[in-house]
């Protein structure tokens, strides 16, 4: 108690303190989406992925016009030219077609199919899952039985059967991919709907007089948006994979059409002699899939901090 002698008596006068001071929130409040953007920005992989995706989308439009060739003109004088021969940056194929032009055009077609399939997935999935979750009860029960059966049929088989029946093309391939692709989306939406219905905070919001519209816009949409965005980001590389896969087993686009799958299949046939014909489309497809996966990982972490461990 040596220090106590040095203390002056007026230190012992009552202090006027506001007890609520401790409850002030010192940090500026950030909205959910601001927080998402902040978390997303710190993820280098996701930023790189997004940049590559943007670059490739731009290139898929600009690339084919960067030299003077088109995708289908055959020229038997310049068959199987090596890469970087003049302005044939990626060389030419066995028909003398310019591979640079075909690669970027093919990337565009592949991306188009993937985006179309993802769009169909979301549209069908959100509608089906929303209706099923919103009505619940008997409607939900019947809709879920149907979903279960559809879910247990391997998508690979449905896709192959569909394309045997329909002539392969951009729209048939996208349609075939989304025949099963919408199911996970519907599940996500339904699960969120159901969860939301039973959630205490929704009950609390209702008790406080929030309208259905407000509950939908303030609670349902933010909750369901995240998982949907993430699911779409992962659905795109999967669609790109399947498009290429279908070309490989003979169900791809018909010539002279080009997609990454068609180019890979053509390249594979001449792999032992002209490996570069496979190399460029392989690099492009791998980078696109990698970028979407990195972006998806980043989005998932940013949108759902609980998942981040």
């Amino acid at each position: 108690m040596n220090t106590s002698e040095k203390l002056s008596p007026d230190l012992f006068k009552p202090a006027q303190l506001d007890s609520s001071e401790g409850e002030q929130i010192r940090k500026e409040s950030v909205s959910y989406w601001q927080d998402v953007i902040r978390r997303f920005r710190t993820n280098i992989g996701a930023i790189v992925g997004l940049s590559i995706i943007i670059l490739f989308i731009v290139m898929s439009f600009v690339g084919p016009y960067m030299n003077s060739y088109d995708i289908s003109t055959q020229n038997y004088d310049i068959q199987n030219l090596e890469s970087f021969s003049g302005d044939h940056y990626f060389g030419t194929d066995k028909f003398g077609r310019d591979l640079w032009t075909r690669a970027w055009y093919g990337a565009k077609i592949s991306l188009l199919i993937a985006f179309l399939a993802a769009f169909l997935d979301v549209t069908i999935g959100v509608t089906y899952g929303g209706v099923s979750g919103y009505y619940g009860g008997r409607v939900d029960n019947i809709m879920q039985r149907f979903l279960e059966i559809l879910y247990s049929i391997p998508n690979l088989i449905i896709i192959i059967l569909m394309l045997l029946v329909f002539e392969p093309g951009i729209i048939p391939i996208a349609l075939a991919l989304s025949i099963t692709g919408w199911v996970p989306m519907a599940r996500i939406v339904r699960a969120q709907m159901m969860k939301l219905k039973s959630q205490e905070y929704v009950l609390a919001a209702r008790t406080l007089g929030a309208s259905t519209y407000r509950i939908m816009t303030k609670h349902l949409i933010p909750n369901v948006m995240g998982p949907i965005i993430v699911a779409v980001t992962f659905a795109i590389p999967s669609a790109i994979f399947f498009e290429a896969f279908l070309s490989f087993i003979g169900l791809g686009l018909r010539p002279p059409g080009a997609s990454l799958g068609v180019l890979l299949n053509d390249g594979n046939k001449l792999l032992q002699i002209y490996p570069y014909q496979l190399f460029w489309p392989a690099l492009i497809i791998s980078l696109i899939m990698l970028s979407f996966n990195l972006l998806g990982d980043g989005l998932r972490d940013a949108l759902d901090p609980k998942m981040r461990k």
Binding site: M1, T3, L7, D10, F12, P14, S19, E21, G22
Partner: protein, 338 residues
Amino acid sequence: MTKVLDVKDLHVSFNTFNGEVQAVRGVTFDVTKGETVAIVGESGCGKSVTSQTIMRLIPNPPGFIKEGQIVFEGQDLAQYSEKQMEKVRGNDIAMIFQDPMTSLNPTMTVGRQITEGLIQHQNMSKQEAHEKAIEMLRLVGIPSPESRIKQYPHQFSGGMRQRAMIAIALACQPKLLIADEPTTALDVTIQAQIIDLMKDLQNKIDTSIILITHDLGVVADIADRVVVMYAGKVIETGKLDEIFYQPKHPYTWGLLASMPRLDQDDNTELLPIPGSPPNLLNPPPGCPFAARCPHAMKVCTEQMPETTEVSTTHQVACWLDHPLAPDVKPPAGAVRGE
């Protein structure tokens, strides 16, 4: 009286994204043989961190012991290696956790969860451990232990699971049992049973207990001594009677006044303590309770009061105990009638 545990000036911090959180800031207390010490305080006051630090269960990183000693039977556990700690945990010091629903491994039989500690520490054969486990289950009051031992936790009710947890903890007859809010997750009727069980077993196997709780009713029921913590510091400590009948710290008054009592009129209101504890990322230089204290003085916000002795067993850290301070009486609701 021999000291089983002597915690001296313990500091525990966590490195977080925002900086160092000083969860425990100089905690000192001891536990003697056969004694029950209750650590009370509100959520986030550092009581659970203190208890887990004694067991060295704080994940490192991010948590670490910054300073201080944890002397258990003459050895400083703060300096122990992980290997050395493995011999202490479960054998000399055991722990019961708050939520019996999640604290048991769902895919392992209750019996195996009891026997594995015995086999680990006591060199028992499987058969011996099995018999001991049945005995333990019987001891904690689980009917037909022979069949229960083969069951999985989900086949037990909440109260039974906590009994099983106690059986696991006491299987090796530890010298010290740390119970971290053992009754918080249970129904009120079950709470009383568990507390009675702990008291009963303490007599049978002569264990010291550290009870972490925010429930003063439980404290009154079982504790010999009480340590009151606030914002990572011990602000008052004393025998049960001293804390309940002669509380010195305004925070202890607040705690007592916010607890319902049988001898009160029905219309006496419970007094909540306004405000909330300080942020331990950046703790205030003075008394952490000053901002919420109705008797705060200028000095309270500037300097941390030293611990003064009210009696040999009763210490408090409050400027009101200083000779220069005005004489403040505890509010009527806080003092127990003799």
